[in-house]
């Protein structure tokens, strides 16, 4: 898996870990600016679902209304199909709470017994008719199947709240963040000398632990007998995407790429006046796209395609295997 020296290099991924919580992978033959932009987009601009308005019908618990509302906002909700919701700011409905732009959950609980009662995320029930069944359910990952604890109630106390969940991005509020954490690193052996390690003794190498596994994956440790290459740039990137639960890790990455592509497409549209995305709807769908990775199954829903520049683009490394560039499908972001 080392360098192939013929032809222009194309970015490729290598997956190290893939499960319900985590996508740990390397992208090689890429560049720092695009890798970092993808990281930023996955942190702050991938749309998810979170409770944004709370109607308090009853609250006799010891916690204040706004305190509980804040807790409700932070509860992760399944957002696999958020693309099917429109942005509530673009919706024509009154109070922005129709089935096209929101999911309504009801939290209703009363303590009647003598023991303290805990109210959990699992007690929230979807009241509205969401456009998909993969939308709005509270995320539950614990073995008991409870989800997050919201309040505790004593005998006679009750809460009843109507929670309106909307699509949003973490740039507005962290409750919409799809990822709990994103690890991002290049050059773990510090061969490029981008890091100047702080040390107390006489040798930083003695004081800083080395991640041997990562160094091996990145072409081994620094060769001290060779002269330093001043032209070397980072081209291998470690991504470690951990989900909060609303989106699967691969969806975060796929949607992140899609959002970034849409961002760039909007720049093209703004500067040229040509809407590349809608121009693609006329039927320039790339045939190899469907054959290879299909119109989907995993994320890239029926991407729009850009006609024209795909096949003959000499700049991004010659002809691409698939004639045109798929943009992300869904409208909105």
């Amino acid at each position: 898996m080392d360098i192939d020296d013929f032809g222009p290099k194309e970015p490729t991924c290598r997956m190290l870990e893939a499960n319900d919580k985590r996508a740990y992978f390397i992208v090689r033959d890429w560049n720092l600016e695009t890798a970092n932009s993808l990281r930023r987009v996955m942190l702050a601009e991938v749309p998810t679902l979170a409770i944004d308005t709370v109607e308090v019908l009853d609250n006799t618990s010891v916690l204040a209304d706004e305190f509980i509302a804040h807790r409700l906002g932070l509860i992760p909700l399944i957002a696999e199909d958020v693309d099917k919701l429109i942005d509530f700011r673009d919706c024509d409905c009154e109070d922005s709470r129709c089935d096209n732009c929101s999911v309504t959950l009801r939290l209703k609980a009363k303590c009647t017994g003598n023991d303290v009662m805990k109210v959990y995320a699992r007690d929230m029930v979807i009241e509205s008719m969401p456009p998909s069944d993969k939308l709005g359910q509270p995320v539950i990952t614990d073995a008991e199947g409870n989800g997050s604890c919201i309040v505790k109630l004593r005998k006679g106390q009750a809460i009843d709240m109507r929670c309106i969940a909307k699509k949003g991005i973490a740039k507005e509020h962290a409750k919409w963040a799809p990822s709990a954490a994103i690890g991002f690193e290049y050059d773990p052996a510090n061969k490029l000398h981008h890091l100047d390690l702080w040390y107390e003794g006489d040798d930083p190498k003695k004081e800083w632990p080395v991640d041997e596994t990562r160094v091996d994956l990145d072409g081994g440790p620094e060769k001290t007998d060779e002269p330093f290459n001043y032209d070397a740039v980072p081209e291998r990137f470690f991504f470690d995407v951990e989900t909060v639960g609303g989106l699967s890790p691969d969806s975060i990455v796929n949607n992140g790429i899609k959002v970034l592509q849409q961002k760039l497409a909007s720049v093209i549209k703004e500067l040229t006046g040509v809407d590349e995305a809608s121009a693609g709807l006329d039927g320039a769908q790339s045939p190899t796209m469907d054959g290879g990775f299909g119109n989907d199954g995993y994320g890239n829903d029926g991407g729009y395609t850009t006609p024209g520049y795909g096949g003959a683009n000499a700049y991004a490394g010659g002809t691409t295997p698939y004639g045109a560039t798929p943009y992300g499908g869904a409208p909105g972001w």
């Binding site: 890429w30 700011r89 093209i268 691409t320």
Partner: protein
């Protein structure tokens, strides 16, 4: 920071003897009044353009693009990527003030292409690169997922044998 807006349903609350006298839509506090809405970071103001293009008259083949409601994600990406093309002689961006979601991208070319076309071409190339990463990622994800699920199944089977 508030997690979600609160509305109280006055009637229902008043019907409940346990909860008296609460009839409000949450008012902004003094501090919140001065706080800009967070969506101003990514939603264009009334009548605002996404990109303002200004030709630099003092230097040939130079344009300053002002991107509104964008940040380093796009600024660093485009300005750095542009530097890789032979016909670019200058490319950089700046965020004039950290409180305003805007950046200025200044591009100079050697004259064989206009700065605007250079930016457009750059964006198209990045879109293509991202598509390649996406393809590769999806294939790798599926492979690895199958491998890990196979391993888990094998472990379950092994435990059953004991």
């Amino acid at each position: 920071m508030e997690g979600s807006k609160i509305l109280c349903n006055a009637k229902l609350i008043n019907d409940n003897p346990n909860t008296q006298g609460r009839d409000y839509v949450k008012q902004k506090t003094h501090a919140e009044e001065n706080l800009p809405d967070r969506f101003e970071l990514f939603i264009l103001d009334e009548g605002q353009q996404k990109i303002e293009v200004r030709e630099e008259t003092k230097v040939p083949n130079t344009t300053v693009f002002t991107f509104n409601k964008e940040d380093h994600t796009l600024g660093n990406l485009i300005s750095q990527r542009l530097l890789k093309y032979d016909y670019i002689t200058f490319s950089a961006y700046k965020v004039p003030h950290p409180l305003f979601a805007t950046f200025e991208l200044r591009v100079t070319t050697d004259g064989s292409i206009t700065p605007k076309d250079a930016v457009v071409r750059c964006c198209k190339d990045v879109i293509q690169d991202l598509s390649k990463v996406s393809m590769s990622f999806q294939g790798e994800w599926l492979n690895q997922k199958i491998i890990e699920e196979g391993q888990r199944d094998a472990e379950v089977r092994d435990q059953g044998n004991y």
